[in-house]
């Protein structure tokens, strides 16, 4: 779940609302713990992102910003992307990227990701 100083949270299964709230709490707590300047949320495994999930992602990004970390959302599927737009729920000002590698590059560009990360191998499974 952690790669260098960047926090990487990957969502593996569809989360219901309570799980989302817990996810939010955990993530925000961890940003403080690890003093992470960058957070990547990988939603590649999700084939549905409902309005609450989108809202939560935006809230996480906002809270992370307040705690000094930049959030990037990566791996939004094409169908999901279009549905989200059609329903009028974007990610607001939260930057997005195609996949993890891209997300790390975005963070690096913003000066938050340290040196380019080495081979992306082992991070935990559950958020």
């Amino acid at each position: 779940m952690r790669q260098g100083s960047t926090l990487i949270a990957s969502v593996h299964t569809a989360l219901d609302d309570t799980e989302l709230v817990r996810f939010e709490h955990d993530l925000i707590a961890q940003i403080g713990e690890h003093r992470s300047p960058g957070v990547i949320i990988d939603v590649a495994a999700l084939d549905v992102i409902d309005s609450f999930a989108a809202l939560t992602l935006r809230r996480i990004a906002e809270m992370a910003r307040l705690r000094g970390a930049l959030t990037v959302i990566v791996g939004i599927q094409p169908e999901v992307a279009f549905t989200m737009v059609q329903l009028g729920m974007g990610t607001g000002d939260v930057p997005t990227a195609l996949d993890l590698d891209e997300g790390l590059i975005v963070l690096a560009d913003q000066g938050r990701g340290r040196e380019a990360p080495s081979a992306s191998s082992s991070w935990g499974t559950t958020p």
Binding site: I73, V74, I76, P78, E79, A81, F82, M84, V85, Q86, G90, T91, T96, A97, L98, D99, E102, V106
Partner: protein, 306 residues
């Protein structure tokens, strides 16, 4: 089974009753006689047929040799169907034939025409053979006509089916071509839109673009709508949504070649255009895209053109 039918035939012959079974048996008998006759005079009838095709100026796209080959196999197939009553082989052959001759511009009326000509030629020869015995001729024709009509039907339907298949294939190809997503450089896609954008095409465009972004891992997409004369509100909205969705997938979209009319439409609907990166023409769009990706294009002579 044989016993039974012969018994029946016997009985109906006795009573003089024209039972359907009787007709069928009689018909089959006559058909085999007929087939034997057609086999016997194969060359003569085939040539007569070919001559009549030429007379009516059908199949002018074919050379005489091809015509001879095709007429022979059509003739044989025809006789075989008369004999067996199974149209499957003929169906297969007709489809095969259609596949060969459709690209050469053979029309439906020609194909139907030659099959009907063959039917007439054969019927004529039957008239000739049985002209002495009018009753027998009638029965022979009773057996021959339904079979012949079924053949004509099968050939025509197979031909039209094949034609439709070709049309469908071409439609698919056109649809595919109508929204090409072209990688120009690593991570840079161009999507030229030419022709009227209706909502169907717009939806397809979105799908192709989004999957193209993922496939080519694109960072920048240039959508060039120089070739689109007009968009309506729905499509304009759809376009804006496509841009947003692309952004969600981590690609920035540059729109180029907005015509005054489309620009007007977009402003009139009042969609949020602040996030839309638009540039006057495709050239400018490409230059901007290259800048975003960090490319610099340099002329070899030393003068920079980027």
């Amino acid at each position: 089974m044989d016993d039974q039918t012969s018994e029946r035939t016997g009985r109906s012959a006795e009573t003089g009753d024209r039972a359907p079974q009787h007709a069928v048996v009689e018909g089959q008998h006559l058909l085999s006689q007929l087939v034997a006759h057609l086999r016997e005079h194969r060359t003569r009838l085939r040539e007569e047929w070919a001559a009549r095709i030429q007379q009516s100026h059908l199949l002018s796209a074919m050379t005489p040799q091809e015509m001879a080959a095709e007429t022979t196999s059509v003739y044989d197939n025809y006789v075989e169907v008369l004999e067996t009553g199974s149209v499957e082989a003929l169906q297969h052959y007709a489809r095969d034939l259609s596949e060969r001759i459709i690209p050469r511009g053979v029309e439906t009326h020609e194909v139907v025409g030659i099959v009907l000509l063959l039917r007439d030629v054969l019927a004529r020869s039957l008239f000739e053979k049985y002209q002495r015995d009018f009753g027998l001729l009638n029965e022979v024709l009773d057996a021959y006509e339904p079979a012949a009509n079924r053949i004509a039907n099968t050939v025509a339907v197979s031909f039209v089916d094949e034609r439709e298949r070709v049309i469908r294939q071409q439609q698919d190809a056109i649809r595919e071509l109508s929204t090409p997503v072209l990688p120009v450089r690593e991570r840079l896609l161009i999507l030229p839109i030419i022709g009227v954008l209706d909502s169907d095409r717009a939806r397809q465009l979105t799908e192709q673009l989004l999957s193209g972004i993922r496939k080519h891992r694109a960072k920048v997409v240039v959508i060039d709508i120089t070739g689109a004369p007009d968009v309506d509100q729905t499509v304009a909205n759809h376009l804006v949504q496509t841009v947003d969705a692309s952004r969600l997938m981590g690609a920035s979209v540059i729109i180029t070649g907005l015509s005054p009319k489309i620009a007007q439409t977009l402003v009139t609907i009042g969609v949020d255009l602040s996030k839309m990166n638009t540039i006057g023409d495709l050239q400018g769009g490409l230059e901007e895209a290259e800048r975003l990706l960090g490319y610099t294009v340099t002329r070899k002579e030393g003068s920079t053109s980027s």
